[in-house]
Symmetry: D2
Subunit: 347 residues, 4 copies
């Protein structure tokens, strides 16, 4: 489909529509009459498949339509009105949601980010300090921890880290929530050791990203212990997040979790990101860090940027120093070997 004269585009992982299997299912089911609001058979089937993939038969699964929405709804659903959410300073909820969390009345309590991650030791100190602060009743009580897996930098929490964070949360009576907007790329990464089962075991809630992982639209929120969040359906409606045609997300997740598609859909993207990193390193480029998923952070001399910009759409990340810039190159489930090779040859 790509024209070799066309400009390459590695600016993000939501450039295309949906995986062809999804479009096919949408077409096949189009004229079937289905109940609204997620009570259709496709949504029910998708829920069953996701519960099975998480080995969590009683989990509540709800389908929302974007990461900011999922985060705003779930954080509001999980926190008491006077609680805040702990996040890495680079967390999506802290910087790129236009204040959606605060609009729900909750403070984002930012901890330093380390390649996008919260350090377990920082979290422990924060929770302990809060409890020992004589002014704590005048402060925002931390009610939950927000992590993203992979993070906004494409990095991964290890199972050991996730368990340590879970244990801290548990002992301090703080909930744990994971934003999996790009979860398929984590699950497809050889460097990853956190499974869906681990997330279901360790989190109070998490979401499985669809929009950036092959769906047209949609995120699947999973609540392993539904009793902990009563009336989630109404909370979703209250946030304007309930789809009348729930089938739209149900059909897509039903397909993504049929035959394990979700577990393989990110593989090529992670593989391509690896190829790009290997090739560029060999060519003398420096990486901000080695990325285990589908986002590559490259340190580029500023004088090379104009030519690069002619050939490739990339994403500006930040200034590195006086003479260098960090750019982000994203692969996706729709990236092709040909595009990757053209990118490498250009760089």
């Amino acid at each position: 489909m790509t024209d070799t004269n066309e400009k390459l585009n590695f600016s993000c992982d939501y450039l295309e529509g949906a995986h062809e299997r999804i479009l096919k299912r949408l077409s096949e089911t189009n004229l079937q009459k289905m109940d609204g609001y997620g009570y259709d058979p496709c949504s029910e089937s998708a829920r069953a498949r996701i519960r099975e993939a998480c080995s969590c038969p009683k989990a509540e699964v709800q389908f929302l339509i974007g990461g900011t929405q999922a985060n705003a709804v779930m954080i509001d659903a999980m926190l008491q009105s006077y609680q805040g959410v702990i996040s890495a300073s680079s967390g999506h909820v802290n910087v790129h949601e236009a204040g959606a969390i605060e609009a729900g009345g909750h403070k984002v309590l930012a901890l330093p980010q380390h390649n996008g991650k919260i350090a377990v030791s920082d979290l422990e100190r924060y929770l302990t300090d809060f409890e020992q602060d004589s002014n704590r009743d005048h402060m925002v009580m931390p009610g939950m921890v927000y992590l993203s897996q992979p993070t906004e930098y494409g990095t991964l929490y290890t199972l050991q880290e996730l368990e340590a964070i879970h244990d801290l949360c548990h002992s301090h009576q703080v909930k744990l929530y994971v934003d999996g907007a790009r979860l398929a790329y984590a699950l497809a990464s050889p460097a990853n050791d956190v499974t869906l089962l681990d997330l279901a075991r360790l989190c109070d809630a998490f979401y499985i990203g669809g929009t950036k992982c092959g769906a047209l639209i949609g995120e699947a929120v999973v609540v392993p212990e539904p009793d902990t969040i009563p009336h989630l359906f109404t909370i979703i409606k209250q946030h304007g997040a309930l789809l009348a045609k729930g089938r739209l997300t149900g059909i897509q997740f039903d397909e993504l979790f049929r035959d394990g598609l979700y577990f393989t859909i990110g593989k090529s993207a992670v593989d391509y990101a690896g190829q790009i990193q290997k090739a560029l390193t060999e060519k003398g480029y420096r990486l901000l860090f080695e990325s285990p998923t589908n986002q590559v952070y490259l340190i580029v001399p500023d004088d090379k940027l104009p030519a690069l910009g002619e050939a490739v759409v990339y994403s500006f990340w930040e200034k590195y120093d006086e003479a260098h810039t960090v750019i982000r190159l994203s692969t996706s489930w729709a990236s092709t070997q040909e595009e990757v090779e053209r990118l490498i040859s250009i760089l």
Copy 2:
């Protein structure tokens, strides 16, 4: 596609997926790389077509994904923090949005409904009384009027009524917003005399419904004078209502407004609703009122309900009296003549 043995379903107007032309466009464009957040060429084209259909070249057009969301975002965008929104007591914002408007901090100021509509005289009295109330500074200031066209009862404001409401709003410095979730059915009704141009001329904002009018999902918000709502994009993001893949709604509205599809897509549904009303009246049924659009409100003796429920999925509306019940039968863009005839023969 329907099996003659299959139970008929007239319970609502969002039972199917999308109009076939929309699915086709989604397929054709699927692998084209497009910018996110509504900056794609399909969204831009859709905007241009909608502006043209409204004869409003400078209008801002934004695509959201459901009626409750559109209402919550726009009411929040248009009101000051201390203002409320006037609605008919039967208005969607007052009864069926799970408190989404109040979650944004705004009171819904309910006026009596008359077959789903606000009476101009009630509105005038309310606005005048508020201004003359010596306690008005202790009360919620009315900041806008919310109407739905068609209303939740399928009824229509006449152009004369809409102009009178507009004039009242203007003279009392109150904004006017119209919820067009089912607007295609209004535009297709022979009884309707309010055009898109009228809405653009008389409203501070309104939305053109897609979800119930042939789209998979999506509502197009139109702001005729964009300067009156600065930073609407950020407000949408803050509400978790911004689609990363804006193309999804852009493509659909681009197709709905190509060749005037939106103006014809509701015609068969309105026609079928008319057939149903005519036939049933002849058979001796009573209507709650004669409906000009696609929703029929039928007064049914309670002893006939069980048999009816065997054959048709309908929507319970309210008890009429001791021995009768009001039910709602909805047709849609996807209804067929055959279904309508089967329904009539059953009733």
Copy 3:
């Protein structure tokens, strides 16, 4: 203190400062150093006295500074984010708090008022209908009932009514909250049969009004079962309702509940209101209804209003018919027999 040439003022019950015993205690304690935020010995003593007066030794007592604030804080503290509060349409929270409840995200669910009161039967029907509504998950769930005692009309719930409302709340898992802005006038009324002990037994929370009952400022919130509202202190702080100098309200309520002052402070006002009603009825005036507390609602021929306004400051309530107006005359703890007699002689 009043000059016989001075215009009488029966416009409300917060025209003066504080009861002299309160001013005296403020002076006596003025230079004592006390801890802030309600941890001072006077606040602790006041709490102990109120707990004793309610026979509720474990109750949490917090001092706030006004009715709207107390209502907004407590409703927010008692409701889940997706719940609303049931109120008479004439309830203070519904009409005269400038949207403070909605600013906290909660809808006020208005029931018809009968001389300011909710009818038990209306409440029962509302709760039952909600539970049976198939769309209830799309609606605002009623989470509590708000009553005022006396009501905004000065009327009183009987113990039987309060118990019936409590039973309904209990069986429908809805909380009960009573706004006692003018509670001293209820407690002082011969017509009243609801004691502080009853309130403590039947309510999930209520407040004992100070501002209109002899204090400079302050309302005492009582939560009989503190475990039901954890972190109330922080919720108060979050609402900007925590006094650094908590002593100010502590000292006042300590005095109001010393030697039973609160139970007697309203007696003269209720007595005067009775005198006024009796005298006026004898003179041929009509009452809107016979008031059992300190607010008299009088139906006055419009042509008598100008002369009346020359002599007395009163409160306009509403138009009664073409030729009559309802006015409110309030007595208070500070009213004098002399003023009442002058009023009667003028009318």
Copy 4:
């Protein structure tokens, strides 16, 4: 009044009631009937005096009852729903208001603090970076700058700094608000060069603190250009911040601004803080920094803390290093020379 055997208390500046002149005025006016909600003659007189003290004849002046409340109300009143407020990380709104600002829907955008102050250069970089960020429409737009004068550390912005911040705000279309909870101590400091006239000239709004400066309770909000915040009265009511007996704050500020009391009431406290700092430095103690107002930050060896705690109530501030702790000692308008001398002799 203080007993020489009594433990000294330098823990904060709101330990006592009110300045004796205030108590006297409360007594004198107690039985005068006055209109409610701030329409009484004392409030009007206080407003006139404050306007005159600010040389700002058209300013709107409103009386609130605490710092958190004043901040929450004014920030909500001044920001658009999608905007945030810039504050030093140590700002009261960021750490010690239990999330009151976020409860109003607004993010606190924290900048590094330098002895409690924002650096002009940090502010400039932040505003410029935001405007140049390609993702700014997905971020919280800075709508105002919050400063405290003196800061939470007792430090002062110079006039030059305040003017630079004002100029930045002006050129970036961001509002400027100053929290003057302890303003009397700034105005009384020889180190201060920012007058009330400067605040009125440079700020969009600020408040003059009463609670910590000799009043029983109360803060006076000043809006130099009232047209910029329409309906402030209603916004105050909506926040539960309107006093029925507005006289309570009106009388106090009327007295504080009569004969320039407010300008002198902090002098002794600042003088005593200077004496304490001088004496302690001579005795070999280290200060965290030299404080220009009434709060002294002392670095104390940990092994001296127990004995100190026996004799003096102080405020723990933070750990300085392994062996030292920073404590805060506050003087106030009510501190006496005798107490200061006893403190010095103990330390």
